[in-house]
């Protein structure tokens, strides 16, 4: 037994057209390949079989081989409606010598069982075939499932340039026997043929009077073997959806100019999209995990993940920390409610460069790459909802990767705020408390990201000379970078700046030769006080402060009592001495002035004190140098 095409007619009581179904997905902000990965993986994850530890999720991009081409042509031409190619574009496609397909397979999933006619009643556990092959817009029936709208399958049709997919599935029937089904499905445009209106929905299978049944068991297996599509091993269950002539345009160029990506690049893109969108499900050590694979013409393509991508590793590290005491709680105060957990990982040198990451807003400049400054939003299904950008860190090698995961009991609320493509949380879709929760979570996250990025606070006016370039280069020293194993692939350390305190810089130089001599010199100056009122003392380490006038180095100084004190700042050279003869055109550090405890500013290197007090010395630093700051009693 073999199949033929069945064209759906309009019923007397109306029906939805193919165009209507195709438009259900809307126009997502993400590129089609990304949406395809996200939606199909989510379908697969929701369909995981009871007891299966791993869901294998494989995409295979291939060209129909010469041995199978005739089978494709003869099988899929059988009973093809005689309508123009505009309404049934598969017809001209089958004549191509290079017929491409993208098969999306899941294993360790339930498969599509249950009734094959939508006018038969079926309970919740038996609606897989109905909701995937026949109906549209069914509410989810999986605990913790992601497919709230049931539109996920729409993307398969959108992803085919000829609106046609082949569905091959294997499941256990109620008696526990393994059954297979095969059906083709096409969705393009409604039309009228011979005075009869058709919806534009077609199925390829065992055509009946008023619907189409799939090929089953041996007949289904035989067709799949003839077409050369992925089959089932041993007692595997699952589904393979094969997209004929996949529409894989380069998402980085405007749609009008976009070309089909060559297979290797398309495979790379899909592999990257799997990595960036599915990494939480693919983490090792999960109780149940998704195992994504990408194959192009038989050759595997590596999926970026925790092991081989520094940025994903950072997000994963933050994710793993969510449930530890390091995980921060995001709470709503009124009404009091725990909304989500939040964790962050600082990165150094980790950058994303892939087009798929750029599609998710993680990177603008593909050649340079970009350090992450994003929070990854997640709900109970633990798929990436989206990456929300925060302010970038002040230095391009520094970044942060944060994860925000909504508490399970609020999953439904946040799910409702998502558009059909599950890539945003929009509180205007909600009302009352639910809107409040979404809004508060978003605001708290934004505040936290501002804090992490070191957004400016406490600015002081401490100079009128622009030192913007210095600020930019030194700024990264302000953010505390925690070193962890994730900073791979960064550039070699080039230049840095440091600062030192008087009498102590030898140690900061890492015991460089002669360091002791130089420091003794500055100490001696401070010790040269003759008034018997003790020495001025530098308190703590100096630190950089970003002000409107640029970057300033602040050093707290304890003045011992009545007297006049003078501050000096020098560059320390590699031989541990104070620089006396700078290179031509060198910028040298200078003392800007002093700030008293009450905030009064005094310009110049000299300060008078009446009583013991603590003041702040303001120094204009220079880039790429080690500085020595010292304060001494001024000569009478």
């Amino acid at each position: 037994m073999t199949g033929s095409w069945y064209a759906q007619r309009f019923r007397p009581d109306g029906g939805i057209t193919a165009e209507g179904l195709r438009n259900q997905l809307g126009r997502p902000a993400l590129s089609l390949p990304t949406v395809l990965v996200r939606e199909s993986a989510q379908n697969s994850w929701d369909a995981k079989a009871d007891g299966a530890r791993t869901v294998d999720f494989t995409m295979e991009l291939a060209t129909v081989g010469p041995a199978q081409l005739n089978a494709w042509r003869s099988l899929l031409s059988t009973g093809m409606p005689s309508v123009p190619p505009e309404v049934f574009p598969l017809r001209p496609a089958l004549r191509e010598m290079n017929l491409r397909y993208l098969s999306v397979s899941d294993r360790g999933t339930k498969g599509l069982g249950g009734p094959t006619r939508s006018d038969y009643a079926a309970d919740a556990g038996h609606r897989n075939w109905l909701s995937f092959v026949l109906n549209s817009g069914e509410a989810r029936d999986t605990e913790g499932g992601g497919g709230t709208y049931g539109y996920g399958k729409g993307v398969f049709f959108l992803a085919s340039a000829v609106g046609t997919v082949l569905i091959y599935t294997r499941f256990k029937d109620d008696a526990g026997a393994l059954r297979t089904r095969f059906i083709g499905s096409s969705l393009w445009a409604s039309y009228t043929s011979g005075d009869r209106p058709f919806t534009g929905r077609h199925w390829w299978g065992v055509a009946q009077d008023d619907h189409c049944e799939p090929l089953v068991d041996a007949a289904a297996d035989e067709v799949v073997r003839a077409l050369g599509l992925p089959r089932f091993e041993a007692d595997e269950t699952g589904t393979t959806v094969t997209i004929i002539e996949p529409n894989l345009l380069d998402p980085t160029v405007p749609e009008e100019e976009a070309q089909q990506l060559p297979p290797e690049e398309a495979g790379r893109y899909l592999a990257d999209a799997m990595g960036w969108n599915l990494w939480p499900l693919a983490l090792e050590g999960r109780r149940r995990r998704l195992n994504p694979r990408m194959v192009v013409s038989g050759a595997p393509v590596a999926i970026p993940g925790e092991d081989n991508d520094a940025v994903i590793a950072s997000f994963a590290a933050a994710y793993r920390r969510l449930q530890t005491p390091d995980g921060e709680l995001v709470e709503c105060k009124r009404p009091r409610r725990l909304l989500a957990r939040f964790a962050v990982e600082r990165t150094f040198g980790a950058k994303s460069r892939s087009k798929a990451a750029s599609d998710l807003g993680l990177v603008d400049d593909l050649t340079e790459g970009e350090a992450p400054h994003h929070v990854c939003l997640m709900r109970t299904p633990e798929l990436v909802v989206r990456y929300v950008p925060g302010p970038p860190a002040p230095h391009r090698d520094i970044g942060y990767a944060a994860v925000l995961r909504v508490e399970d009991d609020l999953d439904a609320t946040f799910a409702k705020s998502e558009p059909p493509t599950h890539d945003a949380w929009i509180d205007s879709q909600l009302h009352g408390q639910e809107a409040t929760f979404v809004r508060v979570a978003r605001r708290r996250t934004k505040d936290r990201l501002d804090e992490i990025a070191g957004a400016r606070k406490n600015t002081i006016v401490a100079g009128d000379q622009p030192v913007g370039s210095v600020a930019r280069k030194l700024g990264h020293l302000l953010a505390g970078v925690s070193a962890s194993g994730t900073g791979v692939g960064g550039p070699a350390v080039q230049l840095a700046a440091g600062s030192t305190t008087a009498g102590g810089f030898g140690s900061l130089l890492g015991g460089g030769p002669g360091g002791g001599g130089g420091s003794a010199g500055s100490g001696a100056r401070a010790g040269g006080a003759r008034r018997g009122s003790g020495r001025p003392r530098l308190e703590g380490l100096p630190h950089f402060v970003e002000s409107e006038g640029g970057t300033v180095l602040e050093q707290r100084v304890r003045l011992p009592g009545r007297g006049r004190f003078v501050a000096s700042v020098h560059v320390v050279t590699g031989d541990g001495k104070l620089e006396s003869d700078p290179y031509a055109g060198a910028v040298v550090p200078s003392v800007i002035g002093w700030r008293s405890e009450v905030g009064t500013l005094l310009a110049g290197d000299t300060v008078d004190a009446d009583v013991p007090c603590e003041v702040t010395l303001l120094v204009r630093p220079v880039v790429d140098a080690t500085l020595d700051i010292s304060v001494a009693v001024a000569a009478p």
């Binding site: 590699g574 003869d581 290179y583 140098a625």
Partner: protein, 258 residues
Amino acid sequence: MSRLYPRLLPGAASRRFKDLQVMGPQPPKEGEEPSLADAVFAATGGTRVTGPDLTKVRFDLVERASASGFPTQRSRTGYAEFDVSVARYLHGACGMVPGEAAQRSVWSYFGLVLVPDICAWRYPANETRGFLDDRFVGADLTRHTLGRLWLRAHLLFDDGVGDPYGLIVALGEADMDQILARRLDVAASPALVREIVRAHRDDPRAGSGPKDRDVLRDSLKRLLRLAAFLDLDSLSRHQLASLVHEARDSSRRTLESR
């Protein structure tokens, strides 16, 4: 196998230097082996040189010095030739390992016993201070007449190229002194010194614009700032080279604009 050379201990060295100031250099007499009085050897670490060995070293050094004008003619070019050929000889032919060459008392023996006449020719007494002690007594390896030549060869030894001593000729003594004597920390990294000398030698813009020497000196000052916090030993040759080129480019640009 490394060779151990006699060491003249500090007390003996300063006594002999005083004698030198008064009586002038007293080289070993013709046909006699160099004296080993007051000299000691390290207990382990190599083979002790014998009397005939020392005679041979002295002979070789005298031969090289003579080719450059020793003992009567003194000229800038003669000194430059002497420095280059003796640097090669000491580092390449004397079997002295760095641990031995780092012993200042070894150089005291060379300067005060083995070849005091050559050292006195190379650095003659000046009218006010007489002979300068650090040219004879091994106090500072960068100042001793022969020690600095060994150090120069050691720093510039460029393994894996046709002539491993090819960089020695690239810098004159004054420029090399800039690096060695005054810029201690830069000199602490031989790889950096080699890149500095190489960049100086191979600069395609040499001879145009600012003086080559000014570019070298200015770029050294830049590198010295960086050396305060960069771990130069951890950089690859390529990274060092780009560091040096960057410094030279910046210096050249700034000097040009003056």
